[in-house]
Amino acid sequence: MFQFINTLLIGITAGSIYSLMAIAIVLVWRSTRVINFAQGGLALASSFVGASILAQQISFWIALPIAMIAGALFSALTEYFLLRPLLKRSGDKGEEIFLPIIATLGLLGIIKTILNFTYGDRIGSIPPPISDKGFVVGGQVIALSPMRILILGIVLFLMVLLTFLFQRTNLGLALRASSYSPEISRLAGVRVDVIRTAGWAISGAAGAAAGILQTTNGSGAISPESFEFSLLLVFGFVAAVIGGIESLIGAVLGGLTLGVILAFILMYIGGSLVFFSAFLILIVILIVRPHGIIGVKGGRRA
């Protein structure tokens, strides 16, 4: 029982971070109907921005928002300079899906070389800002630590912020409308191009937050060749697919579900199967429920 609850806590914390990454993927998907395979790389670059601010002895509470702003900027630049010109050229149908994928892969390589060039084999460090020692309950150390509570708190705060943005503001309305029907949105006066860039920017910020939190929750260190961030991308993608890839709530639930399942696999079956299970879960969902487990009914698919 004790172990069960501990595993659950670990899973929920990790899952909340996957949720953020899933949101990042969903936002890009809804803006431009592509998956950004450089999303992990962008998150890594933003995390390095955060790490270099922390290295100046500046507070985590300043580093996090600055990293998120950097993430937003990187992502917006990607949309503006890479995806927009690419999607503007009308190619034949087979190319349309292939080229953005390749372009984002190319970008991933460029991000990595830039990071390698600036940081070399130095690693960036993002230590937990508060204690990550588990609380002691009845003489036993549980998985819940101040740091885990903080992570959950930050994720929750960002979710509330995003919900407010999407449901209560004009920008949110424009983002949703342009994703469902760019043409009607343009006729209604929405500058869809700008809104797409905005969608990418928000996605970049969410990805940056995911990157920073993932690092504090894990090893506390990042390197330009980090495998962790490829994993984060894959987990975020799986979470997004579980949630039906269109819906933000779906992304959150998908992330939590995945986090908990993987935590239990790690605890009860074996650590080396965790990564492969993510793939298996993805396959099963795509075959059994291609609209996602939590996919909102009536949501559109590409």
Binding site: N170, L173, A174, R176, A177, Y180, S181, E183, I184, S185, R186, L187, A188, G189, V190, R191, V192, G298, G299, R300
Partner: protein
């Protein structure tokens, strides 16, 4: 203050959908554009609202050049387009669809007034503001599409087949509303229709398009009386 189109030519690849078309729509009047399937009616309207690129020609509204602007800036110059086939966003609520139409307008108080005005024209929308749009009937969706266009407070309204797929009674109701809008709000309206008789009955003027060219123009009455138009488009 009028819509002036001159020598407009539009190609879709090799197909010439609009071929050297010229006409004028006087301010405050309702002009019906009729023609067979594929005559180029939709293509014409989409060019006027910036969705289609033209090959050649001019089109101006209030001295504003329509052909080299983007849809999102044309709507800011008082031109609203209700595109073909119930132009609403089903995933949004009725209220959000309406709000979308006014999203670029700065003055929130005026926007609210416009919305009140629209819900009094279409009371059924007012009753369903918080419902998701995919729960609406076809007729209600068409009303919402028109309502969304009106939220931009246009002076020129471009309507593409508002009667499409609606029951005769609903069609009559919508046509009547369009007529009333023209008169009471002083709107200028271009109404593209397959239902030629219904459209000409409420219109001031008519334009018959055939294979991308203007075949006949004139007052609505004169078109209804024209034996050729009657034979080809009115079916008697």
């Amino acid at each position: 203050m009028a819509l002036t189109v001159s020598e407009l030519t539009i190609h879709h690849g090799a197909i010439c959908a609009i071929n050297n078309v010229s006409f004028t729509v006087p301010q405050g009047q309702l002009t019906a554009v009729i023609g067979a399937n594929g005559a180029g009616k939709t293509t014409l309207l989409r060019a006027l609202s910036g969705l289609n690129k033209s090959t050649h020609g001019h089109a101006t509204w209030n001295a504003h050049n329509l052909l080299h602007s983007k849809p999102e800036s044309i709507v800011r110059h008082g031109v609203s387009h209700v595109s073909e086939g119930k132009a609403v966003i089903p995933e949004l609520t009725v209220n959000e669809n309406l709000e979308l139409g006014a999203i670029w307008r700065k003055n929130k108080r005026e926007t609210r007034e416009t919305k009140d005005q629209i819900t009094s024209i279409f009371p059924r929308l007012g009753e369903r503001l918080n419902q998701r749009t995919d729960t609406l009937s076809g007729g209600e969706r068409q009303m919402l599409a028109i309502g969304r266009a009106l939220m931009s407070k246009p002076q020129l309204l471009l309507l593409d087949e508002p009667s499409l797929g609606l029951a005769p009674l609903v069609v009559e109701q919508i046509f009547q509303t369009i007529r009333d809008l023209t008169t009471t709000m002083g709107l200028t309206v271009v109404l593209v229709e397959q239902n030629a008789m219904g459209a000409l009955k409420i219109a001031d003027n008519g334009i018959v398009l055939n294979l991308g060219k203007v075949a006949v123009t004139g007052t609505a009455q004169s078109l209804i009386a024209d034996p050729q138009v009657r034979a080809a488009y009115l079916g008697y």
